[in-house]
């Protein structure tokens, strides 16, 4: 698992969208593993399916997600006034003096939105993170987790998932981090979710390549 900064081009093998038939097989595998799995035909339907999971007034948090930004969900959550959005409140807190409050608020929202970096044919989810800020909420902290996943993130198995993160996702995220924050990204934490017997996690597979 390398995270060295090299001038390597993202492996385009991991940019190819899965077929509809494969998405249906993945959704079935996810359901067998206890996840709630849906398939959106396009971005508009994906946005609707995400918002359907959220009761009016719900406390909603989200990590940085290109997928959610592109779908328009970020704006829905933070600007519509329909939800108690956590992230704007976090941004308003002082990282020097209010870090404990930031940590508590971010770790246990009622609803956590985000995406993953790979989903396997066997129905496992894999998330990589530099800060780990979303990992705790995904794993157990959030009451409910809603993940929107572009079809190009489907891989055969966990080995391919890790390759996707190293050879594709990381390179694009590193570029994004440099533009957005002026720092390099890194693969410091990895979360693999093989099953969801508690039924906390809804996975919305999108029949389009979206995010990275």
């Amino acid at each position: 698992m390398s995270n060295s900064q090299t001038a390597v081009r993202p492996n385009s093998e991991f940019a190819a969208p899965a077929t509809r038939e494969r998405l249906e097989r993945v959704a079935t595998a996810l359901r067998e593993n206890g996840f709630r799995a849906l398939i959106a035909a396009d971005q508009e339907e994906a946005r609707q399916l995400v918002l359907e999971q959220l009761p009016d007034g719900a406390q909603v948090h989200q990590g940085a997600s290109v997928t959610l930004d592109v779908l328009g969900v970020t704006a829905d959550i933070e600007q519509s006034g329909r939800y108690a959005a956590v992230r704007p409140g976090l941004y308003a807190l002082d990282r020097e003096t209010q870090m404990n409050e930031i940590r508590r608020l971010g770790a246990s929202p009622d609803y956590m939105l985000g995406s993953v970096h790979a989903v396997t044919d066997e129905g496992s989810l894999v998330v990589a993170s530099a800060s780990g800020s979303q990992i705790g909420a995904y794993a157990s902290g959030a009451g409910h987790v809603v993940l929107a996943v572009g079809s190009q993130k489907v891989v055969t198995d966990l080995e391919s998932a890790f390759r996707r993160i190293n050879e594709y996702t990381f390179l694009l995220e590193d570029e994004r981090a440099q533009e957005a924050y002026g720092v390099h990204s890194a693969i410091r934490q990895l979360l693999v979710i093989n099953g969801d017997p508690a039924g906390r996690i809804t996975v919305i597979l999108i029949d389009e390549a979206l995010g990275f």
């Binding site: 509809r20 038939e21 959704a27 849906l38 339907e45 609707q48 359907e52």
Partner: protein, 82 residues
């Protein structure tokens, strides 16, 4: 599922999206919203929303009219159940 995504006949259905045509084919096949949701891996609420949009766009009162419209337009043919 691919048989649901075939060539799109005219017949006044040009206003529908590809997804809405898919929904209309399933309505014409007699599926309920819950059954459509199950078939397409979407939620029943989303299926209901799609059906509402199709009803509105085709200016139909109910599902019976939708079925008639689907057959009249040639979107589905008698005996051609998926």
């Amino acid at each position: 599922m691919s048989d649901l995504l075939g060539d799109v006949p005219a017949g006044g259905l040009e206003v529908l999206t590809e997804r809405e045509l898919e929904i209309l084919r399933l309505v014409a096949a007699g599926l309920s919203n819950a059954e459509i949701a199950g078939r397409l891996f979407i939620s029943p609420l989303t299926a209901k929303t799609h059906v509402s949009h199709v009803l509105s766009k085709l200016q139909c009162r109910d599902r019976t009219q939708l079925v008639a419209k689907a057959y009249e337009s040639g979107l589905v043919a008698p005996g051609g159940r998926d």
